[in-house]
Symmetry: C2
Subunit: 708 residues, 2 copies
């Protein structure tokens, strides 16, 4: 930044602030990093994005990249842009090209990357409204972990001083581009069998899943209208498109646990300090993240009060009170609530948020056998939420001692996997707490033992189990593609969208009405068959725009009806998951579509399962561990189950080439779970099969991987 | 307390603490008052209750009251007690008798009320475990607003020093009484047509509704297992028996608003200080009650963060972002969440709690007409929640300017009424916010007006509306009786309980099995007809105990099956609301019971409606206002709608004899609502009908009353 600083001085540009912050690998994390930084100026300020496109040029010509500078939330439609600039097939430049031209990665890119050397070699396009804006703009200072704050005029002044007689910046009114983003674009629906990725669609999501996964992820969530960022860092707004998925899960899970005799209740969100800190191991696990209320109105509270990070210690004093006799057992309560864990790591929507929605079940039994049984019953429900509702394969198993729930006896888990990042992800956990919370020095929850002729005291056996909105994040990561979200039919709030097609300027009003009516009637017919269907009759948008819109949002099935379809008494089905198009007759349409949705659901699961399975690598010698991890796979190895060995594995696998990534903190591998189903792998021979990490006797096949 | 203090000194009794606190009118409020008092010793401590019974004696004999001293949560079954003491028909003593004997009301009573004068005239019974307990005990110091903390030994020492050769205290092991509380009591089911209140039942609830309403209320909630007190003052645990009612309301309301196009979402519970304080009037209304998070883990936050007291200011910055065009309107979102209002007034379960569950809808429209329409649509749904689900009559109307929502344009409400206290209670409110939150200096939510040929800006019209768990408290207060809760069938999680009867020691195992099977089968048959039925086959309890248990919990209908009923292919129905008993054949039982539940539902509503109507008193001269209020009724008068007049009415009616009651703070009358249906009262003649309070021209008939 030294040369930039000199230029600033020569131009009398005085940045409002220049700050360092945690590394920003996407606009979202950049915003979060600034929000979290005390040295950042007071809001509001706007982020400046800098995109580099490479238009199509003859093979041997030196490419002239197009550098687009705009507000982060301004739509920069490459198609429209190309039209105005008269450039063909503008595509986002590769990382290689960025390095070649600017010696910077895309996250560090900013207008300041342009200098006497680079400016003449590119075409610089800037949103014309920036120069005159009274906003403050955040601009990367040649690094993704450094930001300067400039006025709009400063930004433009900086660029103007680079102008030569032959190379000028080009100011463009981007709002005119955004008015009808796809109006002139061709319909994006296409036969995907040819495997090509359509340019317009690429722009819709903006970032490729396989290129910048975390950027892709946040973009998909925003474009699919699932979520918005919120003014309190680490908290997010769940919009109806994602909340409805949570409602589907809630409804299904509620019905299942009711069958098991679990009742819903509600405990307060506040926990007094003394109660929260009752269990030592437990509170050690949570205390760094507890949010404390210390003031109400203008009065300081006598004692700070915690917001629950989980409710064990809040609930169990009452369990002690309510459980007076073995006849009060089992006690099975569940609550749907939100909990707060004030993480200081970089937040990630759905996966790591400071407040999140979940259910927490808390049960108490007379015997360990009953508790054990329930732990597994609940875990199987969690498996079904993932596999049957979300079409996401998981592996049920038990956590190592190191990874179990703080204060519990043992933890069972369903472990998912994100193929794109090669990382494991904990899906949901069902804990047996044993008698750790019921023993006399803790919450003292006991009954007279009905099986003891002397009527001695017996302490109850407890479980707790939770499933959170993390489920939604996992689903997005597993199924989403470069066109956006892909929703499994069972949780899609709209399963089928019906889009009228073939309406042109020449179409008569009657014909238009006929097509729209046919669409509406088809949607109604489907609804009667229990399908969540919607006809998209918005008259200001082209079919192409609508196709794109619903594809971004992941609607599992699109039905198209045009004049020809009406004549033939048919509709054309287009699957979101495969892109496959098929005309079908409208007789028995409800039955056919229901069957097709079932097929989509199971195809999505099968595809994800195949991807997971192909990444489970049986390893029996240490040398294979790091290559398997680096190859974005999960290590399955016969393990000794010794805690020091697990620490050692993490340490040794962390030495690998991959740099520490703050958003996925365990570059070293940790144990994900010990699968219940050991029969997938060759039998472990006691005393003979050795742990490849330490050479001790192996006990069970265990998954190790990098993880979220 | 001077003489008591002297006695303490002479006996070397040193109280751990002696504190003053807010007046405790029930064990629950006593506990709250102690919890809230900084001078109280650290928990745990136990409350001592002192009950006075009057056994049946010959008319002219001087009664010898029985003073029972026990832990507050120890069951003191008067029936069993009477048996052991060989006393008949023990009943709780009247207030008159307490005053006569002790010169104290029941809330001030404690072992310290016994002295050289009173002790010889009563029979004193104390739980034998108190003397040896290591617990600390809270004992009223001759006043319901004063408490001393003593050891168990201190309490017994104090009493022992009063003993004479002929009068001793009697120590009893109360746990033996509690083992089978109703085992020897007769079934409490009876024909209520004779209007008598059964002794055993009276004890079940403990406090009469018409004698000590707030004590009755908390007792009903505890005995019906709806709620428990919580270690954070002002917060309560919603147990499944009440939470299931909330689930019923949730489900119904969700289906209704979905029809109106409202979608559910979730916004974070945290609000930044700057956002919260954006609307001046609005924040003035809420700021004294806002809870602030200032610390996370061990780090102080840079800026305190509020927990939402309501979400207008949290949501509307995003409405401004999301609403870009008139095509984005209407925007209709709702969320089910909890909000926090840290009230410093005495809390009351469901009615005034620091955290409560609710839904909050937030909608935005292009025009005022659309907003107005929705305000009323939602209000009618609220009316239906009360009237159709909870069988609680309400009066829909508009709030006065003084009583409207802080920052809104106008507020509509459904106003309920609690006949026992003669107080009005706001049921739920639907606000039109007008353009107060959308205007440019606030959240600046606008679109281009599609109806304006010049395309000018128009600011959106907004509504917000909320319904909370307060609904449940109102329902309990309106329907409950001296046997406990009475649930309307539509919200009862168990609508019908089937109880096996006529099983004695002589009953053969086969016969017992036959009766139990018949009960279970009947319950299954009812379930198939969509009725929430349960057979109570617990074998350790007598039918009488079960009758009492389910009556306390308010189950709308009991079915009894004994050997005779099996022979006659019948069952006996017993209605909770009326006590009416009827044998019915079991043919078409599902149909019959469904019809009977409908009848119970509408009878409960009709009864409550008649009670409300009979307390609406048309008043046209000022002199009638206070007598009507003192007679526990609501004033309906033609009102000028001038704010100063409302202040004046409150002031003048507050001067009445009734003392200020902290738990129902408005002893002065305030306007409850201006009913939409004005046709119930004689027409107001413009310029002629005068406001009885100030003599100005009256505008509309308005309800005034004391209120919650």
């Amino acid at each position: 930044m030294d040369s930039v600083a000199k230029t600033f001085a020569s131009l009398s540009i005085k940045p409002i602030a220049h700050i360092s912050h945690s590394d920003a690998s996407s606009p979202a994390t950049w915003r979060d990093a600034l929000d979290a930084n005390a040295s950042a100026p007071a809001k509001p300020y706007e982020l400046i994005k800098t995109l580099v496109y490479k238009p199509k040029t003859a093979k041997k010509t030196t490419p002239v990249p197009v550098v687009v500078i705009a507000r982060d939330d301004t739509e920069t439609n490459a198609g429209s842009l190309g039209k105005i600039l008269d450039l063909k097939e503008m595509r986002l430049a590769s990382e290689d090209l960025l390095t070649e031209f600017f010696a910077l990665d895309k996250n560090s890119l900013s207008p300041l990357a342009l200098n006497q050397n680079t400016f003449p070699r590119v075409l610089t396009v800037i949103d014309s409204s920036i120069a005159s804006s009274s906003s403050l703009f955040a601009v990367h200072a040649l690094s993704s972990s450094s930001t300067v704050f400039l006025s709009g005029k400063d930004v433009v002044d900086y660029l103007r001083h680079l102008e030569t007689d032959s190379v000028k910046i080009q100011e463009l009114d981007f709002t005119t581009l955004a008015v009808a983003p796809a109006a002139s674009a061709k319909p994006v629906a296409k036969d995907k069998d040819d495997g090509k990725i359509d340019g317009a669609v690429q722009i819709a999501v903006g970032i490729k899943k396989e290129v910048d996964f975390s950027g892709w992820y946040t973009n998909v969530l925003l474009k699919a209208d699932m979520l918005d960022y919120y003014s309190v860092s680490g908290c997010y707004i769940l919009k109806p498109w994602s909340y409805s998925i949570w409602e589907e899960i809630t409804q299904w899970f509620n019905a299942q646990i009711k069958e098991l005799g679990v009742q819903n209740a509600y405990f307060p969100m506040f926990v007094s300090q003394s109660v929260l800190e009752r269990e030592k191991d437990h509170i050690e696990g949570f205390s760094p993240e507890v949010a404390w209320v210390t003031r109400a109105g203008n009065s300081d509270l006598e004692e700070p009060i915690a917001i629950r990070p989980t409710s064990e210690t809040a609930m169990y004093p009452y369990y002690a009170k309510w459980i007076r006799s073995h006849r009060d057992l089992p006690l099975k309560l569940n609550q749907w609530n939100s909990v707060v864990r004030w993480e200081f790591k970089n937040p990630q929507p759905f996966l790591r948020t400071r407040e999140f929605l979940w259910q927490e079940g808390h049960t108490a039994f007379l015997t360990k056998a009953e508790a054990d049984t329930e732990v597994r019953q609940i875990l199987d429900l969690y498996r079904r939420v993932f596999e049957e509702l979300l079409a996401v394969p998981v592996i049920p198993g038990i956590k190592s001692e190191k990874e179990k729930f703080a204060g519990g006896l043992y933890t069972t888990t369903v472990e998912g996997f994100i193929p794109t990042s090669g990382r494991g992800i904990q899906g949901a956990t069902s804990h047996c707490l044993g008698q750790n919370f019921s023993r006399p020095e803790m919450f003292n929850i006991f009954v007279e033992d009905p099986n003891d002729p002397m009527g001695g005291k017996t302490y109850v056996w407890q479980n707790s189990w939770g499933l959170s909105t993390r489920t939604i994040g996992v689903m997005v990561m597993v199924h989403g593609d470069n066109q956006g979200l892909v929703l499994p039919p069972r949780v899609a709030s709209i399963q089928v969208v019906v889009v009228p097609c073939g309406i042109t300027a020449k179409t008569t009003d009657e014909s238009r009405a006929e097509i729209n009516n046919a669409c509406e009637q088809l949607a109604q017919t489907l609804k009667k068959s229990g399908i969540r269907a919607k006809a998209d009759l918005r008259d200001v948008y082209t079919p192409g725009y609508k196709f794109n819109d619903w594809e971004q949002k992941g609607v599992p099935l699109r039905l198209e009806i045009g004049p020809n379809d009406i004549a033939k008494q048919q509709t054309v089905t287009v699957r979101r998951d495969t892109g496959v198009k098929n005309p079908i007759g409208i007789a028995n349409i409800g039955f056919i579509i229901n069957a097709l949705l079932d097929t989509i659901q199971s195809d999505m699961f099968d595809k994800a399962k195949a991807a997971y399975d192909s990444c489970l690598k049986e390893v029996t010698q240490w040398d294979d561990v790091v290559p398997v991890l680096d190859n974005k796979c999960v290590v399955v190895m016969p393990w000794c189950e010794v805690e020091e060995c697990e620490d050692d594995i993490k340490e040794r696998s962390g030495r690998a080439s991959e740099p520490q990534d703050e958003r996925a903190p365990s570059a070293g591998a940790k144990s994900l779970c010990i699968p219940f189903d050991q029969s997938r792998w060759s039998p472990i021979i006691a005393g003979k099969t050795k742990c490849p990490a330490c050479g001790r006797d192996a006990k069970r096949w265990t998954l190790f991987g990098r993880s979220y």
